[in-house]
């Protein structure tokens, strides 16, 4: 276990950024999102939830795939795939970190998404324990420990220090380059850290969603849930925007679109939302013409389809962003509960 004084953190960022691009939550124009660190950046690690999740560093909202150029009667094709350079993403919360596993299962299984893969390979994830969980958090429902996050390096705030614990090869390699800044933690430090972690876990127990129970969800009862009458009522107020999907760390749907430059085409992919009317639009129209069907798709996918294809793992990490950002406050927790997903105590 290593440590660094909070007041020295800027030096740490600078040291990382000297070698690699560093993505870190920054306050830009009043909102905290992942941004590339630079001198004078307004780093904000106290805000628990960035608006957009950390997935954007591996799976950006827009990404050029290929371009076509037309000259005379010839068309030339150019791939826009580039091998990524090494980079670091700092301050990833436990939930967001788990979301990478969920994305990996989609993008790294056959056929492999090379755009995603290169970024995963070159990215080092530094996670951060959540000292002050909030009312919308329910990561514990998915077995995530927000006091002991995963990642290449796990970091924790306690007292005046940031504690630093490399967990993987990548983490160790990065740590090596920062040796001059990092001190070794003492037993006293370990005690303080443990105390802080216990604090976090105790806070969790006081959270409103602590009783959330997903045992009724998963691969079983697919048709029964699909045909349930409850979807109508749940989806009634949904306005069909993509706020929930775009702040979600696990949503991985994208659309491939062409930008017509007049004498050529830039093909790019961009996040899509299953809540949109034109999601998976085909020549004959959309397979899910009503908002209820689209709404159901989103939650069935997270809580039923994905687990049934992935050993029961849910495609939700309980970050609670959608709980806070939905314009009409319909959210996955309400869906879970509507089907009996609450422990009766």
């Amino acid at each position: 276990m290593l440590k660094i004084k909070k007041s020295d953190l800027n030096k740490l960022y600078a040291a990382i950024a000297e070698r690699q691009t560093l993505y870190i939550p920054c306050n830009v124009s009043g909102k905290v999102n992942y941004a590339v660190w630079g001198e004078g950046a307004d780093v904000d690690l106290s805000t628990l939830k960035t608006v957009r999740s950390a997935k954007e560093v591996f799976f950006p909202q827009c990404e050029d795939i290929v371009s076509f150029k037309k000259e005379g009667k010839n068309i030339s094709v150019k791939s826009d795939h580039k091998e990524s350079e090494d980079f670091v993403v700092f301050g990833v919360r436990a939930c967001d970190c788990r979301s990478f596993d969920i994305l990996d299962r989609v993008f790294l299984s056959d056929p492999v998404d090379t755009f995603y893969k290169t970024k995963r390979e070159h990215g080092t994830v530094i996670t951060l324990a959540c000292n002050r969980p909030e009312e919308s958090c329910f990561c514990f429902a998915f077995g995530i420990d927000n006091a002991e996050p995963e990642g290449d390096i796990a970091a924790y705030f306690a007292g005046d220090y940031l504690y630093w614990s490399p967990k993987t090869e990548k983490g160790l390699n990065l740590t090596k380059t920062l040796n001059s800044l990092l001190l070794t933690a003492t037993d006293k430090d370990n005690d303080a850290l443990e105390k802080e972690q216990n604090n976090i876990r105790q806070t969790n127990e006081r959270l409103p969603f602590y009783g959330l129970d997903l045992s009724v969800w998963g691969a079983d009862g697919l048709l029964e849930k699909f045909n349930s009458e409850k979807w109508k009522e749940l989806s009634e107020a949904c306005v069909g925007c993509g706020a929930c999907t775009f702040v979600c760390p696990t949503c991985q749907c994208y659309d491939v679109r062409d930008f017509d430059k007049g004498n050529g085409v830039q093909r790019y992919r961009c996040w899509d939302s299953c809540m949109y009317k034109d999601f998976t639009m085909m020549a004959h129209g959309t397979p899910r013409p009503t908002q209820m069907q689209r709404f159901r798709q989103r939650f069935m996918h997270k809580l039923v389809y994905y687990p049934s294809n992935n050993e029961g793992i849910f495609s939700c990490v309980g970050c609670g962003r959608c709980v806070e950002k939905c314009p009409i406050h319909m959210n996955i927790v309400k869906v879970i509960k509507a089907f009996g997903g609450e422990k009766n105590e």
Partner: protein, 661 residues
């Protein structure tokens, strides 16, 4: 994918001297969709057109771009040529490389570069062009003439003579209009009634003409070739089928105090009346505002008198709906109100009269039986002052900015007639300019001066004041540079004329436009003077602008010819570049309807199939026969449902893209 041929015209040296046409032709081949390009000396020539036609056939072209002069010049030529060999004419676009390029640039390189870009934009547009077919709509073979003055009567007669039905709607109880009030007409001095009343009788007798007198057009809907008008036939309280026009009732009527409109209020008439002896239709009409029966429920003398039993106190307004292929507006004019011209003392002094009132005072059928007597004391006036341009050519709020056109001539006529009939009368005319552009007009005016000794004074009257039973007229004589004072017995004002107040209402009803003076606007001041901007609506007479009788009759006949030309067709071809609403995108919000200047957009509830979802929606519907293709609706439409054929959003954006590329 289109197969586009690009033809670059040299226009002799007009284009070729400044634009490297070969280079443009080469560049064209690099554009998407282009399969052929050529340059030619004169594309518009017979052989140039042949080149285009042959290539269309040989290469199976689906689109053509001609880089040449302005489309305003030869677009129609090239489209016709394309059509003649089976290509839809709307698959042809013009790149204007003459007026917009070769003629304004000197540098060959620069001009060529620009020509390439203009060509590229045209190609980009043609790539998205679609064949357009003009819609057709049936023509109802009947015309409506609004207004039964000389203009309306002449138009109706001409249309009827050509064999088409025509209805005249006149708001007064008789047709005839202002001309019926006139005594003599210039420059021939023939009797107005003698030339007008036979026409009125002709109109009434014509089997193709139906006269709705004492009626008003209440509502008009529809479009060229297919209008529907609602006509309100006001209650006469006299059964028109029974009334013989004998006039006995009018003699017996005890209420005799209503001002006589026909005599400009210079005398009175009975409550039941026939406007004048030669009225058409010659039927009595009850003025309920003056009738004792309507006011008190008593009297009923007319009913008792009428042997034909034509009186019907319970008659109600009747609404008649009729369909028409064309509408002619002939609503005529009125003399302006002179209440605001206190310098002339019109309101204060009965011996200050308008020229129209003078017409009645000199008319044998007028209140004085044709003897000129001044209104106040019924004596012969010995000194008469005419004042020109009263309310015309001015810029005060009470003035009209235009020249009323007819005053100079009728004043010459009046002064001449007075001098002839009463040689002991002195006549003075204050004028600013004497305007006599017309056949025999100047000669006529000179006769007044030379033969009849009328005193023309170049100057204007500043004040008319009563002075010991006379009218003291203060005027200026600019040629003498003196102020002149004349003690006159009668002052006659040549008051300005203005469009009848109904013109504004009717213009709105017909969605045609009026100018700031409420004259109806013609479609083009030179080339389409008798048509309004709205298809199927024509203009006749003074409603379009001040006119004398011969001009009015000429325009009336011209309007009739236009109407006949329209009615002669069984169907009319519409402009294919019209707006179209995409049913699946239309929200039914009415924004487009609100901005349409032609009322071409209406809404209907219709069932649509939106990708399997069936529902009834409120949808915009464009009447292609009415739409003129301006595109105002396309921008008002937020959902992009409304688009303009021939100038679609995507076509214009493709042009933009090509230019900016």
């Amino acid at each position: 994918m289109q197969k586009i041929g690009v033809f670059i015209c040299w226009c002799g040296s007009n284009i070729a001297a400044t634009v490297d046409v070969k280079k443009v032709a080469e560049a064209a081949l690099r554009e998407p969709g282009v399969v052929f390009s050529a340059d030619y000396q004169y594309m518009c020539s017979e052989s140039g057109q042949r080149l285009m036609k042959d290539t269309i056939k040989e290469k199976g072209l689906t689109g053509v771009v001609v880089c040449s002069c302005s489309p305003r010049m030869h677009e129609a030529t090239f489209r016709k040529a394309a059509e003649s060999c089976g290509l839809n004419p709307y698959m042809v676009e013009i790149a204007n490389i003459r007026e917009h390029c070769s003629w304004i640039h000197k540098d060959i390189e620069e001009a060529t570069e620009k020509a390439v870009i203009l060509m590229r934009a045209a190609v980009a547009k043609v790539n998205l062009n679609q064949s357009l077919t003009a819609g057709k709509s049936d023509v109802v073979k009947r015309a409506l003439v609004i207004g039964g003055g000389i203009a309306g009567i002449q138009t109706a007669l001409d249309i009827a003579e050509a064999g088409y039905e025509v209805d005249i709607v006149e708001k007064k109880p008789t047709i005839g209009g202002k001309m019926a009030e006139l005594d003599k007409t210039f420059p021939t001095l023939d009797c107005s009634a003698c030339i007008l009343t036979p026409k009125m009788v002709d109109a009434a007798a014509h089997e193709k003409i139906k006269i709705y007198a004492y009626s008003e057009v209440e509502k008009v809907s529809g479009f060229v070739g297919n209008f529907t008008a609602t006509i309100r036939k006001k209650a006469r309280y006299v059964n028109e089928n029974l009334c013989t026009g004998c006039g006995l009732c009018t003699e017996k009527c005890p209420s005799r105090k209503a001002p006589n409109e026909f005599n400009e209020g210079l005398n009175t008439r009975s409550a039941i009346y026939i406007p004048f002896a030669q009225a058409v239709p010659k039927l009595a009409v009850i003025d309920p505002a003056a009738c004792i029966h309507f006011k008190t429920g008593k009297c009923g003398l007319c009913e008792k008198t009428c042997d034909a039993k034509a009186i019907d106190y319970n008659q109600k307004d009747e609404l008649i709906e009729r369909r028409y292929g064309a509408i002619v507006v002939a609503t005529g004019f009125n003399v302006i109100k002179l209440d605001n011209f206190e310098e002339y003392g019109y309101a204060a002094n009965p011996d200050v009269i308008t020229s129209l009132e003078l017409e009645r005072l000199m008319n044998a059928a007028g209140p004085t039986g044709g003897t000129l007597l001044r209104p106040s004391d019924k004596t012969h006036p010995k000194k008469i002052v005419f004042v020109q341009c009263v309310g015309s050519r001015g810029q005060r709020p009470c003035d009209k900015p235009y020249c009323s056109k007819i005053c100079c001539m009728y004043t010459a006529k009046h002064s001449m007639l007075i001098r002839e009939k009463y040689p002991d009368t002195e006549v003075y005319v204050f004028y600013i300019d004497v305007r006599t552009p017309g056949k025999n007009f100047e000669e006529f005016y000179r006769r007044a001066v030379e033969q009849y000794g009328v005193h023309y004074i170049k100057g204007q009257v500043g004040k008319v004041a009563e002075n010991e039973g006379k009218l003291r007229v203060y005027g200026s004589d600019l040629l003498l540079n003196e102020q002149v004072v004349i003690d006159a017995d009668l002052v006659v004002l040549a008051a300005a004329i203005e469009p009848d107040e109904s013109a504004k209402k009717i213009a709105t009803m017909l969605t045609t436009s009026i100018d700031t003076n409420n004259f109806l606007t013609e479609a083009h001041p030179k080339l389409r003077p008798v048509e309004s901007a709205t298809a199927g609506i024509f203009l006749s007479g003074v409603c379009q602008g001040p006119k004398d009788i011969p001009e009015t009759v000429a325009q009336a006949s011209a309007a009739a010819v236009k109407v006949v030309g329209l009615l002669a067709k069984d169907q009319i071809t519409c402009n294919p570049c019209v707006a179209r609403s995409d049913e699946l995108l239309c929200n039914g919000c009415s924004a487009c309807e609100k901005v349409c200047p032609y009322g071409a957009i209406s809404y209907m509830d219709k069932e649509v199939n939106d990708h399997g979802k069936r529902e009834v929606r409120r949808l915009a519907y464009v009447n292609e026969a009415v739409c003129q293709g301006c595109g105002a609706c396309t921008v008002a439409c937020p959902s992009g449902a409304m688009d303009l054929k021939g100038f679609t959003n995507k076509q214009i954006m493709a042009e933009v893209d090509a230019i900016c590329r």
